[in-house]
């Protein structure tokens, strides 16, 4: 690590007209630095329920920039201290008294996050840009980079999503959030499931057409699922509006850099209660449940043929999409995962679990030292692995069965 930067200061003396010079290194100044958060009108903080791992989190929102940070209880303590009146040396002492240990790195990392979120007053503005690495990239490397850039470039977002959602909510969207609407959806789902599992022509008809016209059926099923996913995120956003919170964005991106996905950024819902968050999470998959159920009911009352096969296929696909969305253990941050994270009050469960993987063998060798939070992460990883394996097995098996059926 480089030596700390030094500045030489000259201080004039009023008494004898002389002066003194002193060299101040940046570390000395760092300890004397008094971080100051933005004025209270420019941020809000909400305590989250105590998690199943015993930890307490807080969500800090920068109202000026509409950015959010998840704080641990230790970081919350530091945040409270960053009032512009206490030097980092004093903060460090207070931290040590409160938590029994202290490392300046804790503050350094937290400050970096606060700067990033823009909730600390800065004396300067810098535009950090990564410096291109030296050396000549190979052609295939450049081509891969170009393709990856183009692929990522597919992402887009709708401007003024919050205004659009507010309008949609005002002119009809509110109807979705009556209790009656909910019970109608449940009734429709029950009817659809009852019909789908009745022995009849539905499955045989579908199996026949998936074998004779696989491309048509697959295209319609996937196309419908994609179109419905737009409605799905829109309903998430409307639910957010139903509870008076802001929709930051609606758009399209590549989940994990691979899976094309529509999304609604409802981070503002963290400023509300856990129950509200779960309702917002549930609202999206209800779209697939309702439309999927309607499609199955329509198939049941149709004559056997291509239309019935299409309706049934679409219904099953939408139901499957709802189940995948609501199933929490698939390594993805879908609605089911969000519900579990909210119920456990462990908002970073997936990230923490994935971060645990490299040290997992070592931790398992000292099983008695594993903490409650780590057990939750191990449980999540285990269920994800089992679920993915079962899902793959069932699908391979289902496709084989359908092909053999007719």
């Amino acid at each position: 690590m480089a030596d700390p930067a030094k500045l030489e200061i000259l201080t004039r003396s009023a008494d004898d007209g002389g002066f003194q010079t002193v060299e101040i290194d940046s570390l000395h100044a760092y300890r004397a630095y008094k971080p100051q958060r933005l004025p209270p009108a420019e941020w809000e903080i909400t305590a989250q329920p105590t998690g199943a791992d015993g930890a307490r989190h807080f969500v800090l929102r920068n109202l000026r920039r509409d950015s959010y940070l998840l704080l641990s209880s230790k970081e919350h303590f530091l945040w409270e201290c960053f009032d512009g009146r206490h030097s980092l040396e004093e903060v460090a002492r207070a931290f040590h008294l409160a938590f029994g240990a202290f490392d300046y790195m804790v503050i350094r990392q937290f400050l970096a996050r606060l700067y990033d979120c823009g909730v600390i007053e800065r004396q300067y503005a810098l535009d950090w840009q990564s410096i291109p690495a030296g050396g000549r990239a190979r052609r295939w490397n450049r081509a891969f980079g170009w393709a990856a850039q183009k692929w990522r470039g597919l992402a887009f977002r709708i401007p003024q999503a919050d205004r659009l959602c507010a309008l949609l909510y005002k002119y009809g969207g509110f109807l979705l959030f009556y209790q009656l609407s909910f019970w109608l959806c449940v009734a429709l789902a029950v009817v659809a499931l009852t019909l789908a599992f009745q022995p009849g022509e539905l499955t045989a008809n579908f199996a026949h057409f998936i074998k004779t016209q696989p491309l048509l059926l697959s295209s319609v099923m996937l196309g419908t699922a994609l179109a419905v996913s737009v409605l799905h995120v829109l309903v998430h956003a409307l639910a957010c509006k139903a509870y008076g919170r802001r929709v930051r964005e609606i758009g399209f991106f590549l989940l994990q850099g691979i899976l094309p996905t529509f999304y609604a950024d409802v981070t503002d819902i963290f400023m509300s209660t856990r129950q509200v968050r779960i309702t917002v999470d549930m609202a999206g998959p209800m779209v697939e449940v309702v439309l999927g159920s309607a499609s199955i009911v329509a198939a049941y009352f149709s004559d056997a043929g291509l239309v019935q096969a299409l309706l049934f296929g679409v219904g099953v696909t939408l139901w499957e999409s709802a189940v995948i969305n609501l199933y929490p253990f698939n390594f993805l941050e879908m609605d089911g995962y969000n519900i579990v994270a909210d119920l456990l009050a462990v908002p970073m469960l997936r990230q923490q679990a994935l971060a645990l993987i490299p040290s997992l063998p070592q931790r398992l060798r000292r099983i008695s030292t594993i903490e409650r939070g780590e057990w939750l992460q191990i449980g999540y990883l285990t269920l994800c692995l089992i679920s993915v394996a079962v899902y793959l097995y069932l699908h391979v098996d289902a496709i084989r069965s359908l092909l053999h059926l007719s």
């Binding site: 930067a5 201080t11 002389g18 100044a29 400050l111 996050r113 990033d116 996913s229 409802v266």
Partner: protein, 172 residues
């Protein structure tokens, strides 16, 4: 004791001058003794001359706030400073203090203009050396600005943000 022309031979600014030119130049310079801690010139004061440090040490500082300045550099025997005053009438951009008892040789703007008019070849040699020194000082200033910025970043614990530090929920 070294005479002024002999001393001027060791000054980088005048190293391209011959004996005769050095003698001519020496006759135009005014020697001044400055006691330790005394001010040679103040920031914002009138600027009309260049100084060559014959002996001692000069500290150059720029006002920051109240009674506090930031030290920009130090000059020792054979160095020169205040050269901006030869070319423009703008106020001094920094303050010069004698850090120790020092002897300075002063070249006033009028004298320099006389050199430009009467000895153009000599003036060209001086100006060429001056530009060379300017370049070095400009580089040093850039480096100093970078150090000051690094100081600020380290002192406030600033570091480039971690892209994963932002928190959010994208409902899909």
């Amino acid at each position: 004791m070294q005479t002024i022309p002999e001393f001027l031979k060791d000054v980088s600014l005048f190293q391209d001058l011959d004996e005769q030119s050095l003698s001519t130049l020496a006759s135009l310079l005014v020697s001044a003794r400055i006691a330790a801690k005394a001010v040679v010139f103040r920031e914002s004061s009138e600027s009309d001359s260049l100084y060559v440090v014959q002996s001692g040490q000069i500290i150059i500082s720029k006002h920051v706030q109240g009674e506090v300045d930031i030290v920009l550099t130090r000059f020792h025997s054979g160095d020169f400073f205040g050269e901006m005053g030869l070319f423009d009438a703008a106020p001094r951009s920094a303050t010069a203090y004698a850090e120790r008892d020092s002897t300075l040789l002063r070249l006033e703007r009028k004298a320099f203009q006389q050199i430009l008019a009467d000895y153009p070849e000599m003036a060209a040699r001086i100006c060429y050396r001056m530009v060379t020194v300017f370049i070095g000082r400009l580089r040093a200033t850039n480096e100093q600005a970078r150090e000051a910025m690094r100081w600020g970043l380290e002192a406030t614990g600033y570091s480039p943000g971690n892209p994963q530090s932002a928190f959010g929920r994208k409902s899909t």
